[in-house]
């Protein structure tokens, strides 16, 4: 596969390490009420869609950027990639 790195252009997927669903960006507050249940959902449950999936890839043999890649899990077509940090900052802003 080729990952369309937003800064570096298409890069061989073997340079990356895959983590999983981009919902891992939304870590619950560990000090909040109900953290146990929130963390169970965060750590263990996945939508696991057959289709468009937003997922985290780490450019380990590259620039060490974490990316949010939008990819179709049925066709493997990649619809886009963003720096995860930008996505995470936007999520904070939206809160």
């Amino acid at each position: 596969m080729l990952i369309p790195h937003p800064l570096l252009g298409p890069r061989d997927a073997v340079e990356f390490t895959y983590l999983g669903d981009a919902s891992l960006l939304a870590r619950p507050d560990g000090l909040a009420e109900g953290a146990d249940a929130a963390f169970h959902d965060y750590v263990y449950l996945r939508d696991n869609p057959a289709g468009v999936h937003r997922e985290l890839w780490y450019h380990e043999q590259g620039d060490r950027s974490w990316l949010v890649v939008t990819r179709n899990t049925v066709t493997h077509e990649i619809l886009g990639a963003e720096l995860a940090r930008d996505v995470a900052l936007a999520m904070r802003g939206a809160k």
Partner: protein, 976 residues
């Protein structure tokens, strides 16, 4: 000799080769098969199941029958398709899968037993008595299975890999591929043209047609010359593109030296990973046959192959041939053979309106219904409107139409689509970026192929914004096939569909009867298409036969899945490159050359090589060396290279806050100039890693990790920095390799260090336990000093730039001679830490918790660090196993890691299991074996005698539960 006139062979040179030990002549340009045919060798192999005599069936990589073992010794290569083996001087080939000589295969008895060996027979028997399957039946089946044999010696040749990028990859250099490549290359695009053959031209080489009123080879030569002159085109002969992967990545194997008598020091094959923005698939088509009774005799082959042998290689399997066809193509073979002086006994044409295209006898509305000839064809039975005749002939060409080579187009699960007009499966949804051209797209005439290739290239490049003009293409034949489908000749006798695996029309009928009708069931029940040719000459025919039986259309019946590789690929080239000692990189510590010079024994520790121990003269067993190193460290001072621990530089205004969230224990509160032990959890609450965290400045920390987890911890830190807390000002960089870090441990550590530091106060007051500092050593060399201990002794770790590591180690050993300075390796390191009760890899195995390590109180509930919440789950909290020390009751008793722990007297089974021994060693300090282990309720069981069971090695050892700190439990030595 059946060598004809003409052909693309170099008669000026004669090559000598052997088949089954007998020597034959051939010429450059020959394949093994064309040379064998020219030498009148028709019997080349045996079928898989029935051991039927088999001859050549095709002229390409689809060959089901002519499989040989090429070469000898360690270079012996089984199952090589002789049709594509390029002849060289000294080539050695042997036939396969027979007992006794090829002509008198004892296993041919299977053919007589064939009624008992019908499709699926083995699922229905061999079950009684039960023990006989593994003792008798299966060994017999296994012996009979398989085709060629491996040499059992390591492959001696060199292989490598490479990476290519292009705008357009053209797969196949037949007429459509050549015209595509020419179109694209002239437009300035970066083009790769790959073909499995050693000669450009594809099917054109096999035909007698003219191109622009001249031999096709003239046109090919012109194109070849032009392509060679264009620097933006890379021409790859002998290169098979075998797999289409995601996002335009194609796997290709270039056979660099398979055609050379001796590859020498060079590379035999190269695996290329080609990244192509666009692809034109011009892979041509494979001719199909028409099953009829006894259609598998040597001498019966595809009509197009027969024509290819005659035209390209000036070879023919016989002097008198017949043709069986349902289309005009069969007649072209007859014409070309006549032109080469071969006798054409008859053309048997299934079409009622068939007419001869030349001076030979044609049977219209006729079928071949049987054949004769034990080890080679001698006659065929022809049923025609007027009755039936025996026609004598020594070879029969069969033409049932052409199947487009849709394989690569289908590698991404796009199913081929049945086209009733073409009577063929055409490419369905192709991989993104691929366009199919020429015969692979059903554009089979030379004219159509040339034009579809150029058009495909133009369309592909237009996508990339590159304007390509269509070239002036030459005039070429454009005649239709006029095919009238016939999928098999009905009859009761065996008519082969899949030659190699001996699948007949009757087997398909049986599968139908037994309700194994979906094509996947058909394939699996009969083994259809599972031979080395992946059914290239069988599958479509079988689908049509099944469709006939079920009454469903061919389109509804559908195909099985086309899977890579297109043709089989050697495992050696896929493995590529270095596979022995260089299988993976080796990381060497900065003191490695010094340790080597000391005669150290090294051990693999993940990617690293580390000194395991340093034997001295007179030491004959590793334990002697290790005991000495341990005792010397505890008595004087020991030196160990600990560079392999991961080191991460953490800087920034929020570094402390950041580390507070990574470690379960507090770090922001750490004072500058101090070090703290830190425990990281995974988000699921289990222990991830441990290490130290040193604060060198207000906004500067250095984190150490275990050797094994250096990569994962750094990844986790980047994840936390970028994904979880992106608003923090934190900066990370690995410095593992930058610093050589040497542990200086033992009561004399301070004394020794005092001899290298540049005026630095090492006193306990100035530099207490868990202090750290930047300083210089040995006359101005910048260094870092950490007062931390893994051994339980007064200890420091001293870091200097890596290039000075070996010199520093040598200096310390030298200056410390009078203090007993002793280098120690990983074995002694392990003993020292077990004696001290420090957890390491065996304890931090991903299944343990802070509580199990006795560190439960480190998990701060006051902050939100990774893993804190999940570490509170009931299952983790209720686990009472905890790290304990284990001492043998009988001092001579062994403690063995991996033993399971039981209460004394308990039945030893899964549900009474109370824990296990994680680490064990001989402790020269204690004077016996000692161990660490996790034990249920361990904290409450100090002094209790338990049993360590190691049934694997029939050991049951009584152990006493003790504190895991075998030395200095109060930690006084650390702080002195």
């Amino acid at each position: 000799m059946t060598r004809l006139s003409g052909g693309l062979i170099d008669r000026s040179r004669t090559l000598s080769f052997t088949f089954n030990g007998r020597s034959y002549p051939g010429h450059p340009g020959d394949t093994l098969v064309s040379a064998l045919l020219a030498n009148d060798v028709r019997l080349v192999g045996r079928s898989f199941k029935y051991h039927r005599p088999r001859g050549v069936f095709s002229a390409g990589s689809e060959e089901p029958n002519a499989l040989v073992t090429l070469g000898s010794g360690a270079r012996a290569e089984p199952n090589t398709r002789a049709t594509v083996a390029e002849l060289f001087d000294g080539l050695e080939a042997r036939s396969q899968n027979h007992a006794g000589p090829l002509g008198f295969d004892l296993l041919a008895v299977n053919d007589l037993l064939s009624p008992f060996l019908a499709a699926g027979f083995y699922y229905k028997t061999f079950m009684w008595p039960k023990a006989f399957w593994e003792k008798l039946y299966e060994p017999a089946i296994r012996r009979a299975a398989g085709l060629g044999s491996l040499s059992m010696q390591p492959d001696p040749d060199a292989y490598d890999k490479g990476f290519l990028h292009c705008d357009l990859l053209v797969i196949g250099a037949g007429p459509s591929g050549l015209s595509a490549a020419l179109t694209a290359a002239r437009a300035g695009a970066k083009v790769i043209l790959a073909d499995e053959d050693f000669r450009l031209g594809g099917r054109l080489l096999a035909e007698s047609h003219t191109v622009d009123d001249a031999p096709a080879t003239d046109w090919i030569a012109g194109v070849e010359a032009e392509l060679a002159s264009l620097p933006n085109l890379r021409l790859m002969r002998r290169t098979t593109v075998w797999g289409a992967f995601d996002h335009g990545i194609y796997g290709a194997v270039e056979r660099v030296a398979d055609h050379l008598p001796d590859p020498g020091a060079g590379v035999r094959q190269t695996l290329w990973r080609i990244t192509a923005r666009r692809v034109v698939l011009a892979a041509g088509a494979t001719e199909r046959h028409i099953p009829f009774a006894n259609n598998d005799r040597p001498g019966i082959l595809l009509a197009g192959a027969m024509r290819a042998y005659a035209n390209r290689w000036a070879a023919c399997p016989a002097q008198r041939v017949a043709i069986f066809t349902n289309n005009d193509d069969g007649h072209r073979t007859a014409l070309d053979l006549l032109g080469k002086g071969v006798q054409v006994a008859a053309v048997v044409d299934t079409r009622p309106d068939a007419t001869a295209l030349g001076p030979y006898r044609t049977y219209p509305a006729a079928q071949v219904t049987n054949t004769w000839g034990r080890r080679g064809l001698t006659a065929i039975r022809v049923a025609h409107e007027g009755g039936s005749d025996w026609v004598t002939c020594d070879a029969l060409g069969v033409s049932g139409g052409w199947n487009p080579n849709v394989h690569l187009a289908s590698h991404q699960r796009g199913r081929p689509v049945w086209d009733a007009a073409a009577q063929a499966f055409l490419p369905g949804a192709c991989p993104p970026g691929m366009i199919v051209a020429g015969a692979a797209a059903g554009q089979g005439s030379t004219h159509a192929a040339l034009h579809s290739g150029a058009k495909a290239a133009q369309t592909a490049l237009a996508d990339l914004g590159i304007v390509a003009n269509l070239p002036d293409l030459p005039r070429a034949e454009d005649t239709p096939l006029n095919l009238r489908p016939l999928w098999h000749v009905p009859g009761k006798r065996r008519a082969w569909v899949d030659f190699q695996n001996d699948v007949t029309v009757n087997d398909i009928a049986l599968a139908h009867r037994e309700n194994m009708r979906p094509v996947e069931h058909l394939k699996r029940w009969t083994t259809l298409g599972m031979a080395t040719d992946q059914g290239k000459t069988a599958n479509v025919t079988a689908i049509a036969v099944m469709a006939d039986l079920t009454g469903q259309s061919i389109a509804a019946t559908g195909t099985t899945i086309y899977r890579p590789p297109y043709t089989p690929v050697s495992l050696a080239v896929l493995g590529g490159g270095d596979t022995g000692a260089q299988f993976r990189p080796r990381r060497l510590t900065p003191t490695h050359p010094w340790a080597q010079a000391q005669g150290a024994v090294f051990v693999e520790v993940g990617p690293w090589m580390r000194a395991q121990y340093f034997p001295r003269p007179g030491e004959t067993h590793w334990r002697q060396s290790v005991d000495r190193e341990v005792l010397a460290t505890r008595a004087g001072v020991g030196l160990c290279d600990v560079t392999t621990l991961g080191k991460v530089d953490v800087q920034g205004a929020d570094a402390g806050v950041f580390l507070d969230r990574l470690y379960c224990n507090p770090m922001a509160s750490l004072k500058v100039g101090m070090v703290r032990y830190g425990l990281m959890l995974r988000e699921d609450g289990h222990v991830f890693d441990d290490g130290t965290c040193a604060r060198l400045g207000a906004e500067h920390y250095v984190v150490t990790t275990t050797t094994a987890q250096a990569g994962p911890v750094f990844r986790q830190m980047e994840f936390a920095r970028q994904c979880l807390w992106p608003d923090l000002d934190v900066h990370l960089i690995s410095t593992t390799d930058a610093w050589a870090q040497i542990s200086v441990a033992g009561p004399q550590a301070r004394a020794l260090l005092g001899r290298v530091v540049d005026g630095f106060d090492l006193s306990n007051a100035a530099f207490p336990f868990m202090a750290c500092a930047n300083l210089t050593v040995c006359g101005g060399l910048r260094a870092r000093l950490f007062r931390i201990s893994f051994s339980g002794e007064l200890a420091y770790e001293l870091a200097v730039p890596a290039r000075y590591g070996a010199a520093l180690m040598a200096r310390l050993v030298d200056l410390g001679a009078d203090l007993g300075a002793t280098p120690y390796g990983t074995e002694a390191l392990g003993v020292l830490r077990i004696e001290k009760g420090h957890a390491a890899g065996n304890e931090l195995n991903g299944q343990t918790t802070a509580q199990m390590l006795g560190l439960g109180r480190m998990v701060s509930a006051k902050k939100d660090a990774i893993g804190t919440v999940m570490s509170r789950r009931e299952g983790l909290v209720s686990d009472t196993r905890i790290l304990v020390g284990l001492l043998p009751v009988d001092a001579a008793g062994p403690v063995v890691a991996g033993s399971h722990l039981f209460a004394e007297g308990a039945v030893q089974q899964t549900d009474t299991d109370q824990g296990w021994v994680t680490s064990a060693c001989y402790s020269p300090h204690v004077g016996s074996s000692i161990g660490l282990g996790f034990l249920a309720d361990g904290a409450a069981r100090m002094g209790e005698v338990i049993v360590a069971a190691n049934p694997l090695q029939r050991q049951n050892v009584r152990l006493r539960v003790v504190s895991p700190h075998f030395i200095d439990p109060d930690g006084g030595r650390l702080r002195d």
